[in-house]
Amino acid sequence: MAPRYYWKGYLKLSLVTCPVAMTPATSESEKVRFHTLNKDTGNRVVSQYIDSVTGKPVTDKNEAKGYARGEDDYVILTDEDLDRVALDTVKTIDIEKFVPADSIEWVYLEKPHYLMPDDAVGNEAFAVIRDAMKSDKVVGVSKLVMGRRERAVILEPRDEGIVLWSLRFGDEVRPEDSYFEDIEDEVDPDLVPLVQKLIKQKSSHWSPNMVSDPIQTSLLKLIDEKKKALKPKKAAKGKAAEAPPKNNVVNIMDALRKSLEADLKDRKAG
């Protein structure tokens, strides 16, 4: 699936600037999702905006963002207006500082994104910034407007690209002391080596297989069974359109993708 770029702008280190594109590292597109249906008709239920005063449906092109300046008094802002907020950080990731790679606490990591050059003209500049961070074992610190907030971000070189993490704000991370204060500092020193032995026995290497989702598998099975019940197999006819059972999973993936596309359309409207 071709990535949909979430953001395009510039990466800057001192006087070196290159065009970059960014895409979220996480995605819900492969997740089993359900639509809301009308029990009576079996049709999809969709959301619609109606004018709060006239009660009439509002068309997509008349939907606008309103900034409340008083009660029932809104200033309409277009996306173009919003791009003109007087912050360089709307379009430019200017790396202001570099810190040791392990110095940012994990609790501050909010959401990962993949950052890459957006035009061949910037390939080399991008590579210079990336490789210099790699060779110095540092991450870059900058800020960027994301989702109507200006966030601190860090940039970690990874393979040929850069992972950009948005960071949580100070008031979003709860102070740990009040949670941990009652915990003992030490324990019977004989216990620790035993635990370490156990750790050794159960030690393993990281693999994405460790984060599989049994429920997703069950849901896909449930859907598959229902689908079979819906369309009894006409094996005798051997119609070309009938897929052999072992391909069911593939078909479900197609259906999932399709349902995602429809769902995206909905969300846009909603």
């Binding site: 999809r44 912050l87 490789d131 740990e176 635990v195 393993s204 990281w206």
Partner: protein, 305 residues
């Protein structure tokens, strides 16, 4: 036990044959951001959202709504919420450690949400022994539990006197970085370019505490709205000059020279004329939002390149 906080989950942490009572507390919450109201442009009124049947256009009340999965275009399988619920195994209230992995192998792009993991009154010793054993062996633990109506995988690691349990995104929720980056040409930078870039990094090394970071967006948006109300034209987005491949070495040399001649403080080099966004910097300085230092008089002179 953490007095005065409400636990998100209480249960047992199990490793080998050892188990101890523990609780999970939300470590990070999401603070509010600016929200806009959706307005009908034609009337200036706010809009309400209703749910209608896509064919008949009639409103569909909540009790008539059910869930379905689309199999073919327009064809749905109705799935009863109870059937979905039945796929979730019954919770045994146990955070079961399946493996320990070296801290260096942890792939952070899988991180979802962090929770503080603390012992209850009874489990103290086992908890502390696990914490210290993990610290000494420099490992993190992969554990599984039914949490928040899903089978969640969490990564547990020692943190201060406690443990932090981070829920992990599932494999299908994380895009492969290999694939995301596959079209980036493989360039390895060496020699003077790398040295210059490392030199620039050296002048900008410091410490960063995310807790001290300030969000300037709300104030900037308020300014924008004010300008719009007053009918002033909004500032045009400034054109950003991209470094041309042929000029890259010169830009690096110039940056390195500039930083040497100019700022000695670690974090705020003051870029001068060269490329981006000088205008906004000046505006902010006038508004008094940032230091006054960046006006033209104090900037180091650019070396001819």
């Amino acid at each position: 036990m953490a007095t005065g906080h409400r636990a998100q989950w209480k249960g047992f942490l199990k490793f080998g044959e050892v188990s101890c009572g523990v609780a999970l507390y939300t470590a990070a919450s999401t603070s509010e951001r600016i929200t806009f109201n959706t307005i009908n442009k034609a009337s200036g009124n706010r809009v309400n959202r209703v749910f209608i049947d896509s064919e008949t256009q009639d409103p569909v009340p909540k009790e008539k709504q059910t869930k379905g999965f689309e199999i073919d275009n327009g064809q749905y399988i109705i799935i009863d919420p109870e059937e979905v619920a039945a796929t979730i195994p019954e919770s045994n209230k146990t955070l079961d450690i399946e493996a320990f992995i070296p801290c260096s192998e942890v792939d952070d792009v899988y991180f979802d949400k962090p929770y503080y993991l603390t012992p209850d009154k009874m489990g103290g010793d086992a908890f502390v022994a696990l914490r210290d054993g993990m610290k000494r062996s420099n490992v993190a633990a992969i554990a599984r539990a039914v949490l928040f109506r899903r089978v969640r995988i969490v990564l547990i690691r020692p943190h201060g006197k406690g443990l932090i349990a981070t829920t992990m995104n599932y494999d299908y929720e994380v895009r492969s970085s290999k694939r995301a980056f596959e079209e980036i040409p493989k360039l390895e930078i060496q020699g003077e370019m790398l040295d210059l870039a490392k030199h620039i990094i050296g002048t900008k090394k410091g410490e960063f505490n995310p807790a001290t970071f300030d969000d300037r967006y709300e104030a900037a948006l308020a300014d924008l709205v004010k300008a719009k109300i007053e009918g002033k034209s909004l500032p045009k987005p400034k054109k950003v000059e991209v470094s041309k491949p042929n000029d890259l070495l010169a830009a690096l040399r110039e940056s390195a020279g500039l930083l040497k001649a100019g700022a000695t403080e670690d974090s705020k080099p003051k870029p001068t004329a060269a490329n981006a966004n000088q205008g906004a910097r000046r505006e902010r300085a006038i508004r008094g939002a940032t230091s006054k230092a960046s006006s033209s008089g104090t900037t180091p002179r650019r070396k001819a390149s």
